[in-house]
């Protein structure tokens, strides 16, 4: 009887045992989202991951205490045991997460089904791994407490995982965190399946716990000593930007963890396209002449925002200007990160102010490579721009009239203009 036979059997058994929990988990989002009341959505949102996490806790605990028929009676080698006890259920958890994300999005008409599917899948997988290890190391109860923590964490952590589906797919730090947690869970569970470590339960427990804690939270330890919050903690990946006539677009291409994102430029009129890797903190602002794309970039802990010009025809990137800014990442990204004049000569962009919590509104002359602050520490909301030859009107708060040549702004007096 070969090992294939063992693999087939343990997977068959896990599959049969997982069907019920899988179906049960899928009932919640269907019922909850079909009802479409806020209470039912919240309940459904919590019930499915809660069921998966509690399942993980119970499963791990039975395995670690070696009470199960399979582990105590049968000659089950370490690899299929790990697959049966961790990998297969983790796949089930991820599959439930995918269905949960997809249906949640479809039933809620969010229009981000693909992205939500991925987010929920990651979230379920990471939660499963973490809870599994906690239950293996301790008991079901601490694992249940951590499960509750996960549920609230998910709702609170990113302001996005489920509450704001538009933002969730592009919350880089949430994605990295979830990846880390999933990997840590997998490694932690392996510790319990390695025969070499079998001798000492304590060693396995401590190793598993350290792995999970170290991998998941280790990178954040530096924040404890950091005098100010890291500027990039909640930064987001670049999003799509299109020209007014939609003939030009720049958007992130395939995103893979561990590498910088690829930005993809497309000119639909000439069917020209170009891809290039940029750091995570780079965002497109708009389009200049002859295939030039302007981008803004603020590296972690830098007090400068760099305006870049990417010549897509030659794939050359150069710095245009550097703008002084606060330490936080570029703000207002979802609302408005900047705009380029139709002739590609001027850029208007809002950055975090060095002076306070507001926005510094900057103007950049891309040809002369100069810049000027039009409005310092202004309240955010300047997100409408109209270009008129050598002038621009910026709306949002009090409308500003910008003299492009002089690089100065004054409060627009429309009444006066009408009288004249």
């Amino acid at each position: 009887m070969g090992s294939t036979s063992i693999w087939g059997r343990v997977i068959w058994k896990e599959f049969r045992e997982s069907i019920l929990i899988g179906l049960l988990c899928l009932v919640f989002p269907i019922v909850g989202f079909s009802m479409k009341t806020s209470t039912s959505v919240v309940l459904a949102g919590m019930a499915t991951p809660a069921a998966i996490f509690i399942w993980a806790a119970a499963k791990a605990n039975v395995r670690s205490s070696r009470r199960e028929f399979e582990t105590t009676h049968l000659p089950l080698p370490a690899a299929p045991e790990w697959v049966a006890s961790f990998v297969f259920p983790a796949i089930v958890a991820a599959a439930v997460g995918a269905c949960y994300g997809y249906w949640g999005s479809a039933l809620g008409n969010s229009g981000h089904a693909g992205a939500l599917t991925l987010v929920a899948m990651r979230y379920f997988l990471a939660g499963f791994g973490t809870i599994y290890v906690i239950s293996t190391v301790f008991t079901v109860w601490p694992a249940t407490v951590v499960s509750l923590g996960w549920l609230f964490f998910a709702a609170y952590m990113t302001d996005s995982l489920f509450k704001n589906p538009h933002a969730s797919p592009s919350n880089l730090h949430a994605i990295i965190f979830l990846h880390r947690a999933a990997i840590a869970g997998a490694l932690g569970s392996v510790v319990f399946s390695i025969p070499l470590l079998k001798g000492s339960l304590r060693v396995r427990q401590v190793t598993a716990l350290l792995l999970v804690a170290g991998i998941t939270f280790g990178p954040y330890v530096k924040l404890i000593w950091s005098p100010e919050p890291a500027s990039d903690l909640y930064s987001r990946i670049p999003a799509e930007k299109s020209s007014q006539d939609r003939s030009l677009t720049v958007k992130p291409a395939e995103l893979t963890w561990g590498s910088e994102p690829l930005l993809s430029y497309t000119d639909y009129r000439s069917s020209f396209s170009r891809e290039r890797e940029f750091p995570w903190e780079t965002r497109p602002i708009g389009f200049g002449r002859r295939g030039t794309v302007y981008l803004a970039q603020q590296r972690p802990h830098e007090k400068e925002v760099t305006i870049l010009a990417w010549d897509t025809s030659t794939d050359h990137v150069e710095d245009v200007v550097r703008l002084r800014a606060g330490r936080k990442a570029l703000r207002g990204f979802w609302e408005w990160s900047g705009t380029v004049s139709p002739d590609g000569h001027y850029v208007l962009i809002g950055t975090n102010s060095q002076l306070g919590e507001g926005t510094d509104l900057w103007m950049v002359d891309t040809a002369r490579k100069t810049s000027a602050v039009l409005l310092a520490n202004a309240p955010s909301g300047y997100d409408e721009v109209e270009w008129f030859g050598d002038k621009a009107i910026v709306g949002g708060g009090k409308a500003l009239e910008v003299d492009l040549k002089e690089m100065k702004a004054s409060v627009a007096d429309f009444a006066l203009a009408k009288e004249k």
Binding site: G8, K13, R16, R66, E68, T72, H73, L74, P75, K198
Partner: protein
């Protein structure tokens, strides 16, 4: 470790916090024997068995099964050993035929025709779910699974616990008959001592984690005897009789239980000035009570 032994432990110890469940156990189970591992509830029988099958980590000492280390070679041991646990939990949702198919894949030595024979002999319905079966039937399924791969060693941990008297008798005798025909080793624990006498040829008694007796049943019965002493006047102290386990006095008669019985024991009894001494054989149950009771008193 000797290869003539099916199980051998040296200084085997298991602690749960402050509680010592198994205390320096020195156990030797010869191959081909039907070994009854006796002890009261909580004496350390199940803990020992779980350590032997690597279902529990030992605190100290060595344990070998079929000449293999119980931790390092646990996989190989499980392939060659059949195990039925006390109140065994299997998969309630599986049917008998399904669990037979499931377990079959793990054993290179699985014998389909023997499994079918056992199923017939034990009168097991293939289409019934385990969850719908009585405890007795479940125990029979567990036995089938433990035996169908023709193990060199069959370990039964309180296999008859919870079964009614008739089923218990059939079960134990059936097991021993089936496995012992092929000169394989059976190691079974029980606290129902009276049942063991009919089937065991070796006996080990564990009490509070320590092995207090280990020999063949014959040797045990030859070693532990009851001496009934009749006195003409009220009996004096029996302290001069060696290895006295228990003393019961009623009027002018005393019944003493001794271990390591020999002519020396008789001579010592006679020297007490008795008018008559008779030597009685004891049942295994009485011997067990005497041995364990003696430790209780001491």
């Amino acid at each position: 470790m000797e290869t003539s032994l099916a199980i051998q432990t040296h200084d085997l110890t298991k602690r749960f916090g402050r509680h010592v469940a198994v205390d320096g156990l020195e156990l030797s189970v010869p191959r081909g024997s039907v070994f009854a591992f006796l002890g009261r509830n909580g004496a350390g029988k199940t803990t020992t068995i779980r350590i032997l099958l690597d279902a529990l980590n030992r605190t100290r000492g060595e344990a070998c099964v079929l000449g293999l280390d119980c931790v390092k070679d646990s996989l190989e041991i499980k392939k060659r050993v059949g195990y039925v646990a006390e109140a065994q939990r299997m998969y309630d949702w599986m049917k008998v035929d399904e669990i037979i198919w499931f377990c079959k894949g793990f054993y290179p030595t699985w014998d389909d025709s023997f499994a079918a024979e056992l199923k017939k002999k034990l009168d097991l319905p293939g289409n019934k779910k385990l969850g719908e079966m009585s405890r007795g039937m479940q125990a029979k399924v567990a036995l089938l699974l433990a035996m169908a791969h023709r193990p060199e060693l069959l370990i039964l941990d309180e296999p008859t616990a919870g079964l009614d008297v008739v089923v218990r008798r059939d079960f134990l005798e059936g097991v021993i008959e089936m496995i012992h025909e092929e000169e394989r080793t059976v190691f079974f624990s029980s606290h129902l001592v009276h049942e063991v006498e009919r089937v065991a040829d070796w006996v080990g008694i564990i009490d509070r984690g320590k092995l207090i007796w280990c020999s063949t049943l014959e040797e045990m019965k030859a070693s532990v005897k009851r001496l009934v002493l009749n006195f003409e006047s009220p009996p004096a102290s029996v302290a001069s009789v060696p290895d006295v386990l228990t003393v019961e006095t009623s009027g002018r008669q005393s019944a003493i239980t001794v271990k390591n019985f020999s002519e020396r024991s008789l001579a010592a009894a006679r020297s007490l000035g008795v008018s008559e001494v008779s030597v009685e054989d004891m049942s295994l149950e009485d011997i067990f009570v005497a041995l364990v009771g003696e430790r209780e008193e001491s």
